[in-house]
Amino acid sequence: MKDNYMAGSAKNRKAMMTLRIIGAVIVTLVMFFPVYWLLISAFKTQSEMRMAVPTFWPETFAWQNFAEAFRVIPYARYFGNTLLMAVGTIVLQLNVALMAAYAFAKGQFKGRDTLFLLVLAALIVPEQVIFVPVYVMMSKLDWLNTFWALIVPHGASAYAIFLLRQAFKSINNDVLEAARVDGAGRFSILYKLLFPMAMPTIVTMGVLIFISSWNSYFWPLIMTNNNDMRVLTVGIAMLRDSIAGNEAMFFNVIMASSVMAIIPIVVVFTVMQKHIVAAMANSTFK
């Protein structure tokens, strides 16, 4: 009796697992599909793009789409600009956030919680509504068309400060107290003690900052006025305006340039995916 029940349950469980796998595979395929469509559209010819019934695999691989995209976009230059902007933003934002998070989580000073609310309130201000004064400021500093204008205004991220503060708060004060007794200053407590303990959150934060910086479009569009300082997202949008105007005629070339813009970030994520997802799962999001 008992054995029978167990066997049935195991069978049941196996059937359930199979169903689950099927369900998950379908979901994954659906989610992946737009990326797949981007990839194959990038290889289609103009006439294949315009077939009454779309093809799911390119008839011929039109590599010239990429040649065309490379011709209009100085890829290496824009890639370098994007990377420098993203890395600069990570370094600045993380350090500013680490210090602020430490102050707000472990510091004792008057008005701490009020100030923290002020920091949080920054979350609700979209950059599209404040950029004019910042633009004027950048111009006065002669920072337009430089990396300063791309990085410095994004020095403090409310999101990063919030998450790091949560992570620090979860760290027991006894540990800090012990370090303090040993004569450690604030910087060494922050960077030698708290930093490794909050590693998953810091990695996650770094990844999120990288994503948002790499993909940012509005800010670099506004803050740069010459061809040398553009980043990949702006380059794609400009390419669209330049070769197609309002027309959808050259969508294959636009897709090709889009593929080139996302390749670096996809590679990074594919290689580091296990670590990133693990870090995210372990970081403090509450």
Binding site: P34, L38, P133, G155, Q166, N215, I254, F269, A281
Partner: protein, 318 residues
Amino acid sequence: MPMETSKQMTKAASKRATASVSKRMSHTVIEKWKDFSFAVPALLFMGVFLYYPLGYSIYLSFTNWNMTRPVKKFVGADNYTRLLSSPDFYHSLKVTFLYTFMDVVLTLAIGLLFALLLNVSSSRLFGFMRGVIFMPYYVSMVVAAMVFTWIYNGQYGLLNNVVSWFGMDPVEWLNNPSTALPALVAVSVWKGVGFAMILFIAGMRGIPAEYYEAASIDGASKFRQFRNITLPLLSPMTLFLVITSFISSMQVFQSIDVMTAGGPLKATNAIVYWIYTMAFSEFKTGRASALVMILFVIILLLTLVQFLVSRKKVHYEG
């Protein structure tokens, strides 16, 4: 080690810890200033690049400034009264709320569903699939918007082809006032569910297995376990996701800019996009600043409401 400490994080525990700290440590004035100094860089950046422009917007909102002219004439509350009495304002607000509601609900519901489906820890296949589902999150919105513009294309778009399998007539998805907004929501949901899923899975893994074991012994069905254990214990994560996605949806801009430009017939003219065109295409920078302030107040109030309402409903384990 770091994993454990972060898992130990509970509100109660951290409260206890803070309390004990304040007893044990006696902070001198200098110490307090040193603590404060660590917050200074962040406060400076925010002050200069966020609060100063915002404050400046308050000032501009009482003027009729056209950004290409040097003169700024003081017009009192005129910008506010005109906005609040304009049907366009309420229309834009409605569009924004509708978008936000659909976006937040769908992203969270589908994200949770995906989390339940894909939370299989010891499988490389599932790990791989989670990675693929997360992918749209790091594809840039400019790229996503272009791909979807192509998919939605009325003549050659894939979507009309799919729709025709079911015998439906082709639709100009982005050029039809009733489908344009849902079409934008779909892009945002596609980009956001992977992130929601990962966070929900992280939350689920934080729930002690004993809870489920105890419930199983009591004979609770899987559904009851989900309702009585999983959902309540996920509520802090849910709150986090609701608030962050609410705020970002209220500020939707990028996809509108690339895909619909606020149209057709203002069907996707959400507030931030409207502010942008008002200030830049119509040169009514003063009035746009007034709209900024109104939007700011709306988001602030609604975020606070969400906090207050959730305070009663969010469960913290332990």
